[in-house]
């Protein structure tokens, strides 16, 4: 059973169609990338999943059915527009948010202590939140998202304004949660982060779903006729079936002519007795795929 099942969802604000017939599923034990440029409709989709907005049409099932008040306790959400109560102590603020997620005050206190120690915040628990650095506040927000051990974690732009150390920490945390069987939705426009973490993804552009599947599958689908080769000897000036050769960082990028397969090239190189160190199909990055799709859509309009 899917943790989230979004089917043909549409949402319009005034004259603007913000989400248009979007469908996808998120299952347990995966990091799911909800991608798209700014203003694509990602946050609106998340808000519909969380029942903050009602869709105009389509259905959304979360944790096995429509959203209920009880289910809110099983979800951890870190929105893009995020913050904490500023005028109270860190511990009190976190305990309050944890009790709103169904934990008893004593249990919340116990768990928060563990998290604070893990994030090196234990010494600051009695400080007012506004006295903490931005980085510390971001870590505290993560604690608020995870302290009640949610089955579903939704994080909107998880890496925005994070320094490299905290970025790595969030990545490790997300992997850890995935391995613990949680379903994680990571909503971002930073493609390289998705490439590193996500198992599957949906790409939304202008409110429409334009790409959906596993990361590997998507990249293969958009792979062109390029091969990356690293050889111990120089390549011949011309190779049959190769249109163009580019040299970059000690490796060659070979553009194949139409009709030439990767296997044809490999056979040719072996026959030429060229000692190979690396031979791989050049898969496009998500950034390249994203630009390709968005540009194509822009031209089509």
């Amino acid at each position: 059973m899917a943790t989230i099942d979004v089917r043909n969802v549409c949402k319009r604000f005034g004259k603007q169609q913000v989400v248009d017939d979007v469908s996808f599923e998120v299952v347990r034990g995966e990091i799911f990338g909800l991608l798209g440029p700014n203003g694509a409709g990602k946050t609106t989709t998340i808000r519909m999943i969380l029942d903050i907005f009602k869709p105009d049409s389509g259905t959304i099932s979360i944790l096995g059915g429509p959203m209920t008040e009880d289910k809110k306790d099983r979800i951890g959400y870190l929105p893009e527009e995020r913050g904490l109560y500023q005028d109270i102590s860190l511990e009190r603020g976190l305990v309050y948010l944890a009790t709103l997620k169904g934990l008893s005050a004593s249990e919340a206190q116990k768990r928060i202590q563990t998290w604070l120690e893990r994030f090196d915040l234990a010494d600051h628990k009695n400080k007012r939140i506004k006295e903490l650095s931005k980085g510390m506040q971001q870590k505290a927000q993560l604690i608020a998202t995870l302290v009640h051990e949610p089955e579903l974690i939704i994080i909107d732009e998880p890496f925005s304004a994070l320094d490299p150390v905290n970025t790595q920490m969030v990545k490790d945390l997300l992997r850890e949660q995935r391995d613990a069987g949680k379903a994680i939705v990571m909503c971002t426009h930073q493609m390289h982060q998705v490439e590193e973490l996500a198992d599957r993804l949906v790409l939304i552009n202008r409110g429409q779903s334009v790409l959906y599947g596993s990361l590997d599958e998507v990249r293969r689908r958009y792979a062109g006729q390029d091969v990356i080769v690293r050889a111990l000897a120089p390549l011949p000036a011309s190779l049959p079936g190769v249109d163009r050769v580019e040299r970059e960082n000690g490796q060659y990028r070979l553009h194949l002519t139409s009709g030439t397969t990767v296997q044809d090239l490999l056979r040719c190189l072996v026959e030429e007795n060229i000692p190979l160190e690396q031979f791989e199909v050049a898969l496009p990055t998500l950034d390249q795929i994203f630009i390709q799709i968005v540009t194509r859509e822009g031209e089509a309009l």
Partner: protein
């Protein structure tokens, strides 16, 4: 429902546990005590408690003590008898008395009494001397007649239907509705201010989305409104408690306050209008907070709701002189002015029961409507961080809210 209580408790404790709240709570009674204290100290400094003397040349004063005469700082100083003017003058010189009366032999014919003093501002103990003379003059009269002459008529102001009455020395019947109105305004404004801040806070600090994905907007709003309402009520009841203690102290330690009593009709009217009025103002404040994006902006909008609450004080003269006129009636029916205007009218007239019921019903209805609009404003505005909710949007169809 459990989460409503969590919000309610959080909102209540975050204010009540602050030093600022405790200071606000104590500052009002402290201010009153300080003002009264300064007044008493200056009065004490001005009091000359030196006894006064008298020389009875008419042989009139056979009784030398007035029965039941009060003694103390604020009572008239005692009187000392002297055989002749020379002895009394010597006593003045020695500083034993400040002044003395001379009752000449023809007093009964002329009614004239001379007062001799070195200082014009000496305490003459005039009330005590007058009572002493009267009691002696009436010594041979029937006891009941003498008592009536001495005490004078006890005037009791009673309503036509006989349901309410007050006596002339009971200034509390005027003071309580006026001061309670002021306290009500302070309490409403402070708890309304807290509420404004509370509603706009989640938008300012960007915790709104986290909170509304943990608790329903309705429970969040209800918890906030009632939690902050309780802050105001705590403040108000603490002040009432201070007032009751103050009254008890006054009645037991100050003779002039013996006859003080609170007019129950005004108190009842205040109580039945208080709660719906509190809910109404709180909801209006919450609505202002929900439509705004920053607390400073919300404060400006909320100021508009505070103005009508004080309006009855501007028209206090008209209300008191014409308590059943259209202005007084209108102000006591209009929900924003009713909590102050209704008890004010009740001081000087019997407000018709129908009008009281109508005023309370209107208050409750407006309070419910304000709550509904506040919830709607909250739903519409909860995720607007830049653009405020317009009044047009607020009153548009329910569909817009979904």
């Amino acid at each position: 429902m459990k989460k409503f209580w969590l919000v309610f408790k959080y909102e209540y404790l975050r204010h009540v546990l602050r030093k600022r709240f405790l200071f606000g709570l104590l500052s009002v009674p402290l201010f009153i005590v300080v003002i009264l204290g300064i007044g008493m100290i200056s009065a004490l400094l001005a009091i000359d408690n030196k006894p006064a003397g008298y020389v009875d040349q008419a042989g009139l004063l056979t009784i030398t003590e007035v029965p039941g005469e009060e003694e103390g700082i604020f009572a008239d100083p005692p009187l000392v008898a002297f055989p002749n003017e020379a002895a009394a003058l010597e006593a003045i010189d020695r500083g034993e008395i400040g002044a003395f009366y001379v009752i000449p032999p023809d007093y009964l014919e002329t009614g004239e009494v001379r007062v001799i003093t070195r200082e014009a501002d000496s305490n003459l103990s005039q009330g005590r001397f007058t009572r002493l003379v009267r009691i002696n003059l009436l010594a041979r009269e029937d006891e009941a007649v003498a008592k009536r002459v001495l005490e004078g008529p006890q005037m009791i102001l009673r309503s036509v239907d006989g349901t309410r009455e007050t006596n002339e020395s009971n200034f509390l019947s005027f003071l309580v509705p006026f001061s309670a109105g002021v306290l009500f305004m302070i309490a409403v404004n402070s708890s309304g201010g807290y509420l404004l801040q509370a509603v706009v806070e989640e938008k300012e600090n960007r915790t709104m989305e986290i909170v509304i994905t943990s608790v329903s907007p309705e429970q969040l709003m209800a918890g906030k409104v009632l939690g902050n309402l309780r802050v105001g009520l705590t403040q108000l009841f603490a002040w009432i408690l201070f007032g009751v203690v103050g009254l008890w102290v006054a009645k037991n330690f100050f003779p002039f306050a013996e006859n003080l009593a609170i007019d129950l009709t005004s108190v009842m009217l205040m109580l039945i209008t208080l709660l719906p009025a509190f809910v109404m103002v709180a909801a209006l404040m919450a609505m202002a907070g929900a439509t705004a994006t920053e607390s400073s902006e919300a404060q400006q909008i909320a100021g508009l709701f505070s103005l009508p609450i004080v309006a009855p004080y501007w028209f206090a003269g008209s209300i008191m002189t014409n308590p059943n006129g259209p202005l007084a009636t209108g102000l006591s029916l209009f929900p924003l002015t009713a909590p102050v205007a209704l008890p004010m009218r009740a001081i000087v007239t019997n407000v018709p029961v129908g009008q009281v019921i109508l005023a309370v019903v209107l208050l409750v209805l407006v309070a419910l409507l304000a709550l509904l609009l506040a919830a709607r404003a909250f739903r519409l505005g909860m995720l607007r961080y830049v653009k405020r909710v317009t009044w047009g949007e607020l009153f548009r169809s329910r569909r817009a809210v979904a």
